[in-house]
């Protein structure tokens, strides 16, 4: 999972964000501090005069709105497309040509693509920074940053936490990225999943190589989750199962019900990358352990930090910013 340094001619631009795996502990903490500044004062003119392009070769309304809000609240103007059907890609234009064309207009490109590795490639060819807003099943670093920010916000630290990952741990991009990013912070992971969607061996190997403790469970109940600081829920999707009988057997075993929170630690928070279907009972929304909507809001602050960092704006610049817009 570690990336080797590529020669200069094939290197990503230093300020591009392709994967959270490229970030050190210090860099993650730095971005969290920057996001805290934006949480205090989200409305500024820091990016006035800049143009942010949002290129969504695959629709993702939630992520796009979050990035575009982040850009707008910092005074940038936004161009781009939300629907790949309107792009020249449908006429056979290469990704390279689209990226080179848009680079003439925008100062930074936020890109979502259905192909894996698209963001890495774009970052190697574009003369402007690329921010990866998801490339297929590969990476989604802004989601990971907002997850880390939320964990820090709710626990006051990222160190030595008990993090319980529930649901689809086989295909879930967010849980893989979180596992990779959290290795700097000595967590203990608990993997709770049906056998068909268990954490892949390569990630368990990653844990062993980095001295990360992990425990695997197939049961999901109040006792199992009583030791959690963070309960990270994901959706068990029907289409992931080759055996539909197996899906029918396990689908309701990974639903979080209000009664299961009776033994939870007081500091425990429930996170979910959303959208939720039925895996968290709606009555939990009012419970103090529920934190998934606040988590989604944190996407704004962390994406403000990621845009500024990619554009070369430092934490000091943000702290000394005189462009605050008071509401």
């Amino acid at each position: 999972m570690e990336k080797e340094n590529a020669p200069h001619s094939h290197s990503a631009r230093p300020n591009s964000l392709v994967t959270i795996a490229d970030h050190s502990r210090e860099k993650i903490e730095y971005l969290i501090q920057m996001a805290q500044e934006f949480e205090r004062h989200p409305n500024r003119r820091l990016l006035e005069g800049r143009i942010v392009a949002t290129l969504f070769f695959e629709p993702s309304t939630r992520t796009r709105l979050s990035f575009e809000t982040a850009a707008n609240r910092l005074g940038a103007r936004v161009i781009g497309f939300a629907d790949p059907k309107v792009t020249s890609g449908t006429k056979g234009e290469t990704l390279k040509d689209t990226i080179m064309m848009v680079s003439n207009y925008a100062d930074i490109i936020v890109m979502r693509h259905y192909l894996e590795g698209a963001a890495r490639y774009a970052s190697e060819i574009a003369p402007v920074p690329i921010v990866n807003a998801g490339d297929g099943a590969n990476q989604h670093p802004s989601q990971t940053m907002l997850d880390l920010y939320t964990i820090y916000q709710t626990q006051g630290t990222l160190d030595n936490l008990d993090i319980y990952l529930v649901g689809d741990l086989k295909y879930g991009r967010t849980v893989h990225s979180m596992l990779t990013a959290m290795h700097h912070f000595h967590p203990t992971f608990h993997f709770i999943a049906p056998e068909e969607l268990a954490m892949p061996e390569m990630y368990k190997q990653f844990c062993r190589e980095h001295g990360i403790r992990y425990v695997e469970h197939t049961e999901f109940n109040a006792d199992v989750i009583s030791g959690a600081d963070i309960l990270y829920m994901t959706r068990v999707q029907r289409e992931r199962f080759t055996d539909l009988m197996e899906y029918e057997r396990v689908k309701d075993r990974y639903l979080l019900k209000l009664g299961m929170l009776s033994k939870a630690r007081p500091n425990m928070k429930i996170l979910h990358p959303l959208p939720r279907v039925n895996e968290i009972e709606y009555s939990i929304d009012e419970n103090p352990h529920a934190y998934y909507f606040e988590q989604a809001r944190n996407g704004l602050y962390t994406r403000q930090a990621l845009l500024c960092d990619a554009l070369g704006i430092t934490l000091d610049d943000v702290r000394n910013d005189k462009t605050l817009i008071e509401n």
């Binding site: 990336k3 990704l95 390279k96 259905y114 590795g117 490639y121 297929g136 590969n138």
Partner: protein
């Protein structure tokens, strides 16, 4: 009866011996031998005491860079090469898998950008027996490697 080489000796150039017979054409492709202007002698399915059958390639007046030769390790990890000068072997070399491979190996992930965009593939050595795609992070065992098809 005395055993004789079925292919003639060369004055100067490179000899690649002990190629597993079935890997011959992959080696020919990788080294772009079809575009060579000097004499190339190819022996296929030759008897070999150690290997059963083997292939051999002799290239007159042709010397490769380390980078070019190390690419061969992707398909034949234990290949031996002889550098010939004035009919004598002046250097014996074994190939060594490089840390990075560009434009040689195809990614097995159909959703990888390299399989959908006119661009060079790029792999990093991953452990001792696998390659990892620089773009989509797919890990490919050396036993399952497929080479990029050339136009």
């Amino acid at each position: 009866m005395k055993k004789q080489l079925l292919v003639a000796a060369i004055e100067n150039g490179t000899v690649i011996d002990h190629i597993p017979a079935e890997k011959l054409f992959a080696v020919v492709n990788l080294l772009h031998l079809e575009s060579m202007k000097t004499a190339v002698t190819i022996g296929y399915n030759l008897q070999s005491e150690g290997m059963g059958t083997k292939s051999i390639i002799k290239m007159a007046d042709k010397f490769f860079t380390d980078e070019e030769l190390n690419q061969l390790a992707v398909i034949c990890p234990n290949l031996t090469l002889c550098i010939i000068r004035d009919y004598e072997i002046v250097e014996k070399r074994t190939v060594c898998l490089p840390d990075e491979l560009r434009g040689i190996v195809r990614c097995t992930n159909p959703k990888c950008i390299t399989n959908n965009e006119p661009m060079r593939t790029h792999f990093h050595l991953h452990g001792s027996n696998a390659l990892k795609c620089h773009y989509c992070n797919t890990v490919v065992s050396l036993d399952d490697v497929r080479l990029v098809e050339r136009p």
